[in-house]
């Protein structure tokens, strides 16, 4: 049983560019959350998708957007990249729209130069 898979594992972009990160949830999970983890910090909640809709959103600007597909996989898009967007982006999946037990992927390390 595959866990949460994320792609790519590493990405280097320049300021102003756009990026798309991808996530496939754990088998049987229908809820996907995205987190940003800066170096030396805990994960910060970006948003959560359930039933193909953004259900909750953290304190992130509209440059951060997402999508969930019918197979429950998800994408995170970030436009107009800033240096401060450099971080580890984590995807977490869970069942039934709940958050008690999150299963995280290994993340995408994004570097903005």
């Amino acid at each position: 049983d595959a866990g949460v898979t994320q792609s790519p594992t590493h990405l280097i972009k320049t300021r102003g560019q756009q990026v798309t990160l991808r996530c496939s949830p754990k088998s049987g999970h229908d809820t996907v959350s995205w987190y940003q983890q800066a170096l030396g910090q805990g994960p910060q909640f970006i948003f959560q998708y359930y039933e193909e809709e953004e259900r909750q959103r953290g304190n992130f600007p509209d440059r951060f957007s997402g999508h969930q597909f019918p197979n429950y996989s998800s994408e995170l898009n970030v436009n107009a990249l800033l240096l401060g967007d450099s971080a580890l982006y984590l995807c977490a999946s869970s069942p039934d729209g709940r958050n008690e037990k999150l299963f995280f992927g290994s993340g995408t390390q994004l570097s903005v130069l």
Partner: protein, 113 residues
């Protein structure tokens, strides 16, 4: 002041030591408490969770919650080099909604042989 405070360490202990990791919080609405373990270049992994004050034990790990003091702890007995990782506390309200956990910044633990 952050809602969840956690000393980043690093905490360095010899193999076999008892480790105590702690978090304090300010939000009285937090009623569900979690500990995640994160190895280098990996996503967080749920280690323990509890709703109630008091102790919860699982093998070498004990989670302790003191709601009156807004203080939670994770104890690791007979620590092993394989326990070397960053330990993140997380907490959320409970109830009818799908509450998103708030994470601490993590404590880096090094267990040396």
């Amino acid at each position: 002041q952050k809602e969840v405070e956690q000393d980043p360490g690093p905490l360095s202990v010899p193999e076999g030591a008892i480790v105590s990791l702690n978090c304090t919080y300010s939000n009285s609405a937090f009623q569900y408490f979690m500990w995640y373990r994160q190895y280098s270049r990996k996503g967080p992994e749920l280690l323990m969770y509890t709703y109630s004050s008091g102790n919860k034990e699982d093998g070498r790990f004990t989670a302790q919650v003191d709601k009156s003091s807004k203080y939670i702890s994770l104890f690791i007995r007979d620590s092993q080099p394989s326990d070397s990782a960053t330990y993140l506390c997380a907490m959320s309200p409970i109830g009818g909604g799908s509450y998103i956990p708030t994470f601490g910044r993590g404590t880096s633990l090094i267990v040396h042989p």
